[in-house]
């Protein structure tokens, strides 16, 4: 019987939640790396027992942990992230030049095919890769050096590269997103890059339709249609039908189009999920009601999903990497909150239940569907 493994990164460690295909009874293991911030835990699509975790603190810096047994045991691998050459400066919040400085790994993206190959998105924004299971890391410096880097400015969470999407049909085609620079696209495995922000409009920057400078919060694709990309921007939910070359807004009837997380149903490429958040000044759901919104039309028309979710006095946030989908049928949807809850729906979002209620603030959620 199939099963699922939910990989949860929190402010104070990592947790692994497992259940059989019914997704009713859950076992909770952890914390792993207790007391450390775990920005992301992710599994290899090619070998589900191979997991990677990004572990950091302000005190002792960055570690990368690797598991070869599905998260039961872990060992640290390489943690030397060195920018190529002399990295120069980006902009600080006040517009002054700020030297590039490595802070942490936000996102880990294992290869579709090779368990030893993966990308890491880091703060200050850059893309690194490893082909030896995380033992050594090299920067794909063409991104940072493509031309607009000196103009990049951090979002409130830092100048972070938080989304890495490799086209499953052609791994040389990459999309990454940086807050608050925007989307960048490569067709040559990361050697060269172009901004991919045409159609974005951001009233909070001096030039609202600038080529770079947009606070993109998250991107999501369905693996069968990599050219269709959905985006939760600082404000606005957007869609591209040409792999990021152009974007159009699909916020439609959402109660607010601010938010962080976005994902696509595993079996329905036009079914998209977001969690609307009140505003950039109020990082909690509108009216204290935690609602996931689902569109079955690829955006534009959205319906609230509330059954099993708190509908009063709820003031948590759902961060950009804290939503994921499983590949079972019916499809499962998962998200974690800054209040430490991880919610699951085993029926495409109609009904929700908390798997756990009292974890540390949840930074990331990934799901593995196991045979």
């Amino acid at each position: 019987m199939s099963s699922v493994r939910v990989l949860v990164g929190t402010r104070k460690g990592a947790f692994v939640l497992t259940a059989d295909g019914k997704r009713e009874q859950w076992e909770v293991a952890g914390p792993h790396f207790g007391g450390w911030e775990v920005y992301h835990v992710n599994g290899s699509p090619a070998d589900p027992d191979r997991l990677y975790a990004s572990q950091s603190t302000d005190w002792f810096g960055q570690l990368i942990q690797r598991s070869d047994d599905g998260g039961r045991s872990w060992a640290p691998v390489g943690n030397e992230f060195v920018y190529e050459g002399v990295p120069g400066t980006h902009q600080w919040y006040d517009g002054t030049p700020q030297p590039w400085k490595f802070t942490r790994v936000w996102h880990l993206a294992p290869s579709w095919e090779d368990p030893d190959a993966l990308y890491a998105g880091v703060e200050d924004a850059a893309l690194f890769s490893s082909t030896d299971g995380g033992t050594t890391w090299s920067e794909l410096a063409g991104l940072r050096e493509h031309g607009s880097g000196p103009a990049w400015q951090p979002g409130a969470g830092g100048l972070c590269l938080h989304t890495i999407l490799a086209d499953p049909t052609d791994p040389a085609r990459l999309l990454v997103a940086i807050s608050a620079a925007g989307v960048f696209r490569s067709d040559d495995a990361g050697a060269s890059w172009q901004p991919a922000n045409k159609g974005l409009h951001s009233d909070y920057v001096p030039e609202p339709e600038a080529e770079v400078g947009h606070c993109v919060h998250k991107l999501a694709i369905h693996p069968s249609r990599p050219d269709v990309v959905f985006m939760q921007k600082h404000w606005d939910v957007m869609r591209s039908d040409d792999a990021g070359r152009t974007w159009h807004e699909v916020s439609g009837n959402l109660p607010t189009d601010f938010g962080f997380a976005i994902d696509v149903h595993a079996h329905e490429p036009e079914t998209v999920y977001v969690v609307p958040i009140t505003s950039d000044a109020e990082h909690y759901p509108p009216d204290g009601r935690l609602r996931v919104y689902r569109s079955r039309t690829g955006g534009g028309e959205w319906e609230p999903l509330t059954r099993g979710l708190p509908q009063a006095n709820c003031y948590v946030n759902v961060l950009r990497d804290a939503m994921a989908v499983d590949a079972l049928d019916p499809g499962g949807i998962y998200f974690g909150t800054t209040g430490g809850q991880v919610y699951a729906s085993a029926d495409s979002g109609d009904q929700w239940m908390p798997i756990v209620r009292d974890l540390p603030p949840v930074l990331s959620v990934e799901v593995q569907t196991l045979p």
Binding site: G35, W36, T57, W59, F60, Q62, L63, E80
Partner: protein
């Protein structure tokens, strides 16, 4: 034998439960101790000082007896009591945050 006390998170990472004991060749300095520590426990590389610059991380301090020696030159000899193993070299996580 040099005695080194690690903060709790680094003891967990290095899989030790108590202070560690290291052999240091030549003059006993901060750099020599950290070189020996990282050679014996490679998982600690990058956690106390930067890989490339060897600069102490901002929220890490070094104490000897009741002295904060964090700002002493990395190549300066440490007190004889450290070299003789009578007192430990303490690596401390700064009190910050909650």
């Amino acid at each position: 034998m040099i005695r080194v006390v690690l903060p709790a998170h680094l003891r967990t990472l290095a899989q030790v439960s108590d202070e560690v004991r290291l052999t240091v060749e030549g003059p006993v300095t901060q750099r020599a101790i950290l070189d020996a520590l990282e050679a014996r426990y490679p998982m600690l590389r990058g956690t106390v000082r930067d890989h490339a610059t060897l600069q102490r991380r901002a929220f890490v301090r070094f104490f000897v007896e009741e002295e904060d020696v964090s700002h002493e030159p990395a190549e300066a000899p440490l007190p004889p009591a450290v070299a003789a193993g009578r007192t430990p070299f303490r690596i401390v996580g700064a009190l910050a945050g909650g």
